[in-house]
Amino acid sequence: MSAIPAEAITAESKADTVGQYDDLVNAGYEHGFVTEIESDTLPPGLDEGVVRAISARKGEPEWMTEWRLAAYRKWLDMPTPTWAAVHYPPIDYQAISYFSAPKKKEGPKSLDEVDPILLETYQKLGIPIEEQKALAGIAVDAVFDSVSVATTFREKLHEAGVIFCSISEAVQEYPELVQKYLGTVVPPTDNFYTGLNSAVFTDGTFVYVPKNTRCPMELSTYFRINTANTGQFERTLIVADEGSYVSYLEGCTAPQRDENQLHAAVVELIALDDAEIKYSTVQNWYPGDEDGKGGIYNFVTKRGDCRGHRSKISWTQVETGSAITWKYPSCILRGDDSVGEFYSVAVTKGRQQADTGTKMIHLGKNTSSTIVSKGISAQHGQQAYRGLVRIAARAEGARNHTQCDSLLIGDKSSAHTFPYIEVKNSSAKMEHEATTSKISDDQLFYCRSRGLSEEDAVSMIVNGFCKEVFNELPMEFAVEAQKLLSISLEGAVG
């Protein structure tokens, strides 16, 4: 395996030739930075020139630029999906700025060289970039706006041969790996948002775990949207080679905003023979005010490919934020005896809307999948679970267990379940359970009669409802997720 440079990521390529966009970029400095840090922002708008400019800014090789342009040209003809049960005004894609990078003369070599204002922002967000947290075994690749600026624990990962870096760096340093796997799970043409992402993605994470290697620590990326009007187009690619194991944690938070912010990430996971990837997300983006104004639009495509035999991919997610969530982490069970899992908690309150679920595509023999979805809806929150389980004709002996529970708080919230099942092989064993329940007055009174406040009672009952999912999260994350759930349901009752 090639060596990983010890330096942190280069925030801005020096070799850029941006031409006509240079002036506009420079003009952009004066505008709208929440954290007082000099930034490098493209003006709003999208055309081939912008795609080229992004690629040039990042000093990308020709093949990458062409890949983006091909995606862009296809995207132009793609319709926005309308089938999801969410409602929002049309997005003006020409009003979005597609690139924003913290401006730095040179990439920081260590934390000491990272802009102190940035570090302070991370601290405010409670991001464990400092040594204390790092000691807890978490390596952090923090994404500020669109460019990664700091990475820890690279040495230890290096020893194990694990590559954990920004996707931009991977394009430069490991082009053969990126070219081999990028877009092979989620092709640019998959849907409108993946087309857009493929054209303009600015950064994200790349992980490669070599054969027969157990990644020595949980890998963690904290995302943050900071610059007003800058859509975020993260791109994550995780490859677990034969017999390897990796657990990846993704978490995020965003400051209050007036304009709606678009987030259209793409995450691709590839597990080869006997490999296992565990991907955990705690998502807490700004949901908007009481009327839903100003919240994040979260249109994400996450897909894992169990490409090898006996491979396993698990998605675990706790979603409490965003004004609109459109997200279906999925597994393609291609290898024989491969296993796909989806554990999800989604909370909608206020005016939040979520259309989320999963797809389990069984192609290999004796493949099995488990879906546990827990939806919580309070106030005017709207939620739809959409799950597809497809058993292909050649998928002999496939099994699926789906459990889909909804918990309603109050009488204005709603939950809908749309299970789609396609079975083309009669040997398949399918189980589907669905429940809808409410927190009963009896339960609340029982808790309160023992001295617990109504809010503590709700949070306890809700956490109990979500237990099966929290059990799947790494310990530290589970504690955070519980806290987050309690905080997000404050004031949701009554």
Binding site: S440, D441, D442, Q443, F445, Y446, C447, R448, S449, R450, G451, L452, S453, E454, D456, M460, I461, N463, G464, F465, C466, K467, E468
Partner: protein, 250 residues
């Protein structure tokens, strides 16, 4: 300790409590007996602050504090405890975790330190011993999938842990076989103390063979129509409720 005067309460437009008076002194055990539907559970619920009942007249004071001014959790923190006739299931909520949160909420409201995991475990072991219970229920979700007897035992265990000033046991005996009844009654007796008063609500005299009350009251048609010593319970056992209730009505 507890002073209830002229209490009237309605559910919807139906008056269920119709002028109820009751005085309970420190350390006293009062039994409230009465036919089904006479308002025993309603009384217990109104005292502990359950929604859905409207208090239309009268007062209830615990150590001088007006209970009707307080939320249910505030009443609990003041030292009121209700052992439910039908304990409620909380799926997924660990019994031990629930109790610890409850106990610490109560301690916190009194300005006491919250118990850490170690002290809490120690206290729990102590109480289990007093009640001759094992710890098999503690790791399970609160009341979820418990048998009738287990639910009632769990209520008594909660009472032991929360150490209330006034405990109301609402038909804790109903649905229990004789062995379960004995376990529960032994528990209650172990928790009797000069500082703790109890109101034992029951339909049958049977429970009072095991928990000997200081006073017995008969509740019928929303009022206490007869009060006496424990011999009143025996009389009720012998003659049924009819003779008092009808006598009163006549």
């Amino acid at each position: 300790m507890l002073s209830v005067k002229g209490l009237k309460a309605t559910v919807g437009d139906k008056e269920i409590l119709r002028g109820l008076d009751l005085e309970v002194g420190p350390g006293e055990v009062h039994a409230i007996m009465g036919p089904n539907g006479s308002g025993k559970s309603t009384f217990a619920h109104v005292l502990s602050g359950r929604e859905g009942y409207e208090v239309t007249a009268g007062s209830a004071k615990l150590d001088g504090t007006d209970l009707f001014e307080l939320d249910p959790e505030e009443r609990a923190r003041l030292g009121l405890f209700l052992a439910f006739q039908y304990p409620v299931e909380l799926p997924g909520v660990n019994n031990m975790y629930f109790l610890k949160a409850a106990l610490n909420a109560i301690r916190k409201s009194r300005g006491e330190d919250e118990l850490d995991a170690v002290s809490f475990m120690r206290l729990m072991k102590e109480k289990l011993k007093v009640l001759h219970l094992d710890d098999s229920l503690l790791k399970r979700p609160v009341n979820f999938g418990f048998s009738g007897g287990e639910k009632k035992r769990n209520e008594i265990f909660q009472m032991a842990m929360l150490e209330p000033k006034l405990a109301i046991l609402d038909e804790t005996d109903s649905g229990l076989d004789i062995d379960a009844l004995r376990i529960v009654a032994d528990g209650v007796n172990a928790l009797r103390s000069p500082e703790r008063s109890m109101i034992v609500v029951t339909h049958y005299q049977r429970l009072l063979d095991y928990i000997e009350p200081d006073y017995v009251h008969v509740l019928a048609k929303g009022q206490i129509i007869r009060s006496g010593g424990k011999e009143l319970a025996l009389e009720l056992e012998e003659k049924g409720y009819g003779w008092i209730v009808d006598g009163e009505a006549a």
